[in-house]
Amino acid sequence: MTAMLTIRDLHAEIEDKPILRGVSLTVPAGEVHAIMGPNGSGKSTLSYVLSGRDDYAVTGGEVLFDGRDLLAMEPEERAVAGLFLAFQAPVELPGVGNANFLRTALNAQRRARGEAEIDAVRFLKLAREAARRLAMPEDMLKRNVNVGFSGGEKKRNEMLQMVLLQPRFAILDETDSGLDIDALKIVADGVNGLRAPGFSALVITHHQRLLELIVPDRVHVLVRGQIVRSGGPDLARELEVSGYGAVIREAAA
């Protein structure tokens, strides 16, 4: 099977503090992998480094996306190549209408790929359909991006973007945190609806609950900036029962 994302011995730090200390991971095309781990283990840092946030310094290793050097690309180029990050805490954009934002993003990607832009009327039809599938009230398209949205609405808005932008590789950074079971199901439906041989995802989570709904092909445990254990979907259930302690002790041994 061809690898869509290959991470080799990735080291990254913020303000001279090492966070990732040699992460290696391969996600083949068509697979969904989960990353679990205690707080502060570097899960979010990994998602930011992959999406190109510049306050993190990569000090070693490489990341290949479809065989291309991902770390050499600007954040917008990564998005155009098909990478999508669902943020843990999406920012608010006062003064920017949600529909306008979504269309700007979609058309920026289409332009960069040499595809025709989507006009406002057709776009609004697409966006309304997608919003309905995500059980979002329609006025969320009219409101300013994430302004006054509840935590759950912000997460759903991330899913709306994912569904409209149709990425080839999605990173969900604790998208499940703070969601009730109905919202969790909507998020899972969003990801499962994209599952296809040409789509892969990295689901970062604390809890096994989401992984009951998005069943991963592999589960990796990240502890202190390194993957200390990998396994099948059962690993998530095992961690839910025994906690991270055993895995951490095992890794230290």
């Binding site: 917008e76 943020f87 003064g95 700007t104 993003a105 920026a108």
Partner: protein, 419 residues
């Protein structure tokens, strides 16, 4: 006073002596204004009202009217900005009837210069200078209960390459009781010049003047405008000023809420780059009870640009139940950009609600990254966020055509921010 300003002041007086007999109308008012100007001179930064804005660029002006003519192509291009709306067009300080098209509800009055009735206003140096030299201006009256607009007032100036001619327009607008007018004022030009415009507006009981001002003067121009507004009982003066052009620009407004229940909005946005300097100075006088004034001034400053906001709210003893609000916000796009903000409240009544605030910030790195992570190129992301900063100001322009004109003017301004 600096030697440069002193010489410029003497040059203005000498030029007045040379041309006074050829100027139209009321020589007494002009001579009196020249006396005011002689005793007052051009203000320096030691003057409190001009503390943040230096006029040394006026060292280059001859105070003489421009001689260049606007080419038909250039005129047509500027006129195309008016979106086919009724318009009153001035070129180099003179009305051009053949370029203008007035709506039926408005007739132009004959121009005559006179000093403002208010002594403080008459004592302002640039008002005196305008009274000395103004040869033309828009004089309009909207009759009671007539609704009119939008009408465009377009002032074009063709300046020099080396020399710096001067243009003084003097406008007078009167809205009778219950009348309504949307006026879109566009100031534009090319080359080097000094524009010194004065407008006096009377808004009678229950009347409403919506005033959208788009200042897109030449980047080599010095442009000063002084506006006097008098709002009677229940009247509304609602204005938005967009400052884009000029090397040195100042929009000064003196608004008086003269009758109970009057409302004044003095909103503005300044978009500046390079070494542009623009100044919004306002004096809002609450002279009657139960009036409201609102002011939101937004500054977007790139490169070494310098924005100034001086806002004074005066509340007279009689003006109980005054509701005054003032906000100055600045978005600094470069470490060398600068904003000066001076709010002043002078309150003599005891039952009033007055507040003011100021914010200064940069574009938010998290917001830029969020947009980029969705595939929006960095430059477009920044433009989107700057536009968002202005969104509420533009949304407040009630008339759709006027709003479109302001948006069109902004559209051509992103380039200069250079990112």
């Amino acid at each position: 006073m600096s030697a440069t300003l002193e010489q410029a002041g003497s040059r203005a007086l000498a030029h007045f002596q040379a041309v006074r007999d050829r100027l139209p109308g009321c020589p007494d008012a002009r001579v009196a204004a020249a006396e005011v100007f002689r005793s007052r001179g051009l203000p320096s930064r030691r003057d409190e009202a001009w503390r943040y804005t230096s006029l040394r660029d006026l060292g280059a002006t001859s105070f003489a009217a421009p001689e260049a003519e606007v080419s038909p192509d250039a005129a047509a291009e500027w006129i195309s900005l008016t979106r086919g709306l009724p318009r009153i067009v001035f070129v180099n300080g003179r009305l051009r009837p053949e370029l203008s098209s007035l709506p039926a509800a408005i007739s132009l009055g004959s121009f005559e210069v006179s000093a403002p009735k208010d002594a403080t206003a008459a004592a302002l140096p640039f008002v005196a200078l305008n009274t000395m030299f103004a040869e033309d201006g828009m004089v309009i009256t909207v009759d009671p209960d007539i609704e009119c607009g939008p009408v465009v007032l377009l002032a074009l100036t063709v300046g020099g390459n080396v020399d710096m001619p001067a243009v003084c327009l003097r406008h007078r607008i009167a809205l009778r009781s219950g009348a309504r007018l949307t006026l879109v004022e566009v100031a534009a030009g090319s080359g080097r010049y000094f524009a010194n415009c004065v407008m006096e507006a009377e808004v009678a009981d229950g009347a409403k003047l919506s005033h959208v001002r788009i200042q897109r003067e030449s980047i080599d121009a010095t442009t000063l405008s002084t506006l006097f507004v008098d709002a009677s009982a229940g009247a509304t003066y609602d204005s938005f000023t967009l400052a884009l052009g000029g090397k040195l620009a100042r929009a000064e407004v003196h608004a008086r809420l003269a009758g109970p229940g009057a409302t004044v909005h003095l909103n503005a946005a300044q978009l500046l780059a390079g070494s542009q300097h623009a100044d919004v100075t306002t004096v809002v006088s609450h002279d009657a009870p139960a009036c409201a004034s609102r002011q939101t001034v937004k500054n977007i400053l790139a490169d070494r640009a310098h924005g100034v906001f001086q806002g004074k709210i005066e509340v007279a003893r009689a003006a109980q139940k005054t509701d005054g609000y003032q906000m100055n916000q600045a978005l600094l796009l470069s470490p060398e950009a600068e904003i000066d903000s001076k709010p002043e409240l002078e309150i003599f009544a005891d039952d009033v609600k007055c507040s003011h605030g100021a914010t200064v910030g940069e574009l938010d790195g998290d917001q830029i990254f969020y947009l980029r992570s969705r595939g929006v190129p960095e430059r477009d992301a920044r433009t989107l966020l700057i536009r968002a900063f202005l969104a509420e100001s533009l949304a407040d322009i009630e008339d759709a055509e006027a709003r479109r004109m302001a948006e069109d003017a902004l559209e051509g301004s992103w380039e200069k921010l250079g990112r």
